[in-house]
Amino acid sequence: MDNSPQLFQYVLSGLSNGAIYALIGFGFAIIYNATGIINFAQGEFVMLGGMLTLFFLVFLSFPLIPAIVLAILISTVIGIAFERLAIRPLKNATPLSMVIITIGASILIRGIAMLIWGKDTHAVPAFSGNDPLYIAGATILPQHIWIFAITLLIIAANKIFFNYSIVGKAMRACAYNSQAASLVGINVKTMVLLSFVISSAIGSMAGIIIAPLTMTSFDVGIMLGLKGFCAVIIGGMSSGLGTIMGGLLLGLLESLGAGYISASYKDAIAFIILLLILFVRPEGLFKQKETERV
């Protein structure tokens, strides 16, 4: 029996999930590099992206593009409020208490979302239809193509922003050494705020593009957030190639594991990888290639 279409299908499914993990991982990395904390509320921005899009698109009957733009804007505003109200007032707290605060914030955001939108799962319409496309014996939905395209676009935009724009360079400077950065006149606080803006926007975008495939509910952020966290750990907390590779690798291993070993171990695979990396190579799989973090 020819197994290649089957393998190809696993690879396609894995890569599309992996792209989402990579985007969520990006959000973790950007905030980590600016502030040194791991923002466990990152998954909630993914949830907010999906739920807000659904809210504008289905309940208020907005067209797709304005619904998406509004969803990203509101998620970003929530990200800013989060930084202003919960992170900035505690600038000198230990990283541990900061991490606990982000966990608290994630529970709060999830609880509010549940009160507003209820506990049900909701279907979000696909951007451009549900007719599968056939590629070499495997199938793919138009939405997958959107996911790949938007992920690539965001990665490219990030690269350009951090490497060529003055603000992006300033953010990298803060990540490298925030004291030195403030000495040369960079407003570190603004850069921290900006990191929350960027990561909540990317997180919500990830939530928006995946929602038509997986549907959305108030609690999708937990699992997606953890998977994104795995991706960024594999990538060694970099917001560059490492996290992208980490996300794709995680998605692939999950999908191949579910296909060839057993689907029962799908989530276990992600967390075994996470533990292995933390034990054996806490600096990430791809570290040697990069000398700086952002």
Partner: protein, 380 residues
């Protein structure tokens, strides 16, 4: 949410006032345990709503022999510890004469020792077969056994001359109980399970399992789970271009599933209580009157369609009402009369309890329905 809570408070006050103002006998207290919040809220919420609606109805119509009913509801959150605490509270503090619920098999199994010790009749709204098998003196149930649903599907598959199937079950209580029954009964119907796959309750992509199933050579796929997983399965089946007929469990027989799965739901066949096809039933169906009455009433009160989960609570309340009418309101009398219930046409089916059978239903409690044009059609 707030509105609902206000409504609850107001209705409780109204019930309280009515009870207080009527100088007749004190109300008959019935306890209810439902998983109104938490992972099984899709069961508990309609059950709670239905029970409250029915008690209101009964009281408006003059109560039972002139005595009002008082319903005391606690939320178990599908947590066995909370269920046991709440059951103790109902029995010791509230002094109820009977308990309906809990919504899940886990909660029910946890409180069985409590009600048996206190000798209070329990009418569970959960489906697990072990609740009433072996028969326990004080425990009855209204939800249909999984075994009946499985038998209904296999019977149909056999008629369609389908002998090789793939099963895809969710790895939670509902799914593993369904899987057990699917595996146990397959042989009896001459059906061979050639792929046996599972998925996690929170999984959002089942293409890997389905790709494996596709290459396995099955003639049909049977998926056992509750929302949202099966909707993802239906969408993935369409995405992968799998042309095999797809069967689901009664766990998704609500409009919510059709809404979630969208066009991918078309053509899916599943066993369901009669409630979703109440309008299509033949006139001589004994349940038709109760079903139409329930569906209309629920829609009037809560603006959404009543589903068959709420129906379990309807049946529990009506069974207890019948028992009190016949034998009075002592817990022992209620138990004895419940056991004598015969041919009560409710929502879940036509119940006949006996000292050997506290589940009370046969496989005709299920009908097979097919999803067509975003609605249900009855399969003959």
């Amino acid at each position: 949410m707030l509105k609902k809570m206000l409504g609850l408070v107001v209705s409780m006050m109204v019930v309280g006032l009515m009870a207080g103002s009527s100088f007749a006998a004190p109300p008959i207290k019935i306890g209810a345990l439902f998983s109104v919040s938490g992972p099984a809220s899709f069961l508990g919420e309609p059950e709670r709503n239905t029970a409250e609606m029915m008690v209101d109805e009964i009281n408006k119509a003059g109560g039972i022999k002139g005595r009002k009913l008082e319903l005391i509801v606690y939320d178990t959150q599908a947590d066995a510890t909370k269920a046991v605490q709440a059951a103790n509270k109902l029995i010791k503090d509230d002094k109820v004469v009977a308990i309906i619920g809990p919504s899940t098999t886990g909660d029910t199994m946890a409180i069985i020792p409590v009600v048996e010790k206190a000798e209070i009749p329990l009418v569970s709204c959960a489906a697990g077969i072990k609740i009433t098998d072996p028969v326990k003196k004080w425990v009855f149930k209204t939800a249909q056994n999984d075994a009946l649903a499985v038998a209904r599907i296999f019977d149909y598959l056999k008629k369609q001359k389908i002998a090789k199937i793939a099963i895809l079950t969710v790895s939670d209580g509902f799914g593993s109980s369904g899987r057990e029954q699917l595996v146990a009964q397959a042989g009896k119907f001459g059906i061979q399970i050639i792929s046996d796959e599972t998925y996690g309750p929170k999984d959002t992509d089942m293409t890997a399992q389905l790709t494996k199933i596709r290459s396995g050579g099955a003639q049909a796929v049977v998926c056992w789970g509750t929302n949202p997983g099966p909707a993802v399965v239906a969408r993935n089946v369409q995405q992968l271009g799998i042309k095999l007929p797809l069967y689901m469990s009664h766990g998704v027989s609500s409009l919510k599933f059709i809404d979630l799965a969208g066009p991918a739901a078309e053509g899916i066949i599943l066993p369901s209580g009669r409630v979703v096809v109440a309008n299509h039933l033949p006139k001589n169906d004994p349940q038709k009157k109760a079903l139409l009455n329930y569906v209309d009433n629920y829609k009037k009160h809560y603006k959404v369609e009543g589903d068959h989960f709420g129906g379990h609570a309807y049946d529990a309340i009506m069974l207890i009402k019948g028992a009190i009418e016949r034998g009075g309101d002592s817990p022992a009398a209620i138990r004895d009369q419940l056991e004598k219930t015969s041919k009560f046409a409710g929502i879940g089916g036509t119940f006949s309890y006996s000292s050997q059978d506290h589940a009370g239903l046969t496989s005709d409690a299920f009908v097979l329905v097919q999803i067509k044009n975003k609605g249900w059609t009855l399969l003959k």
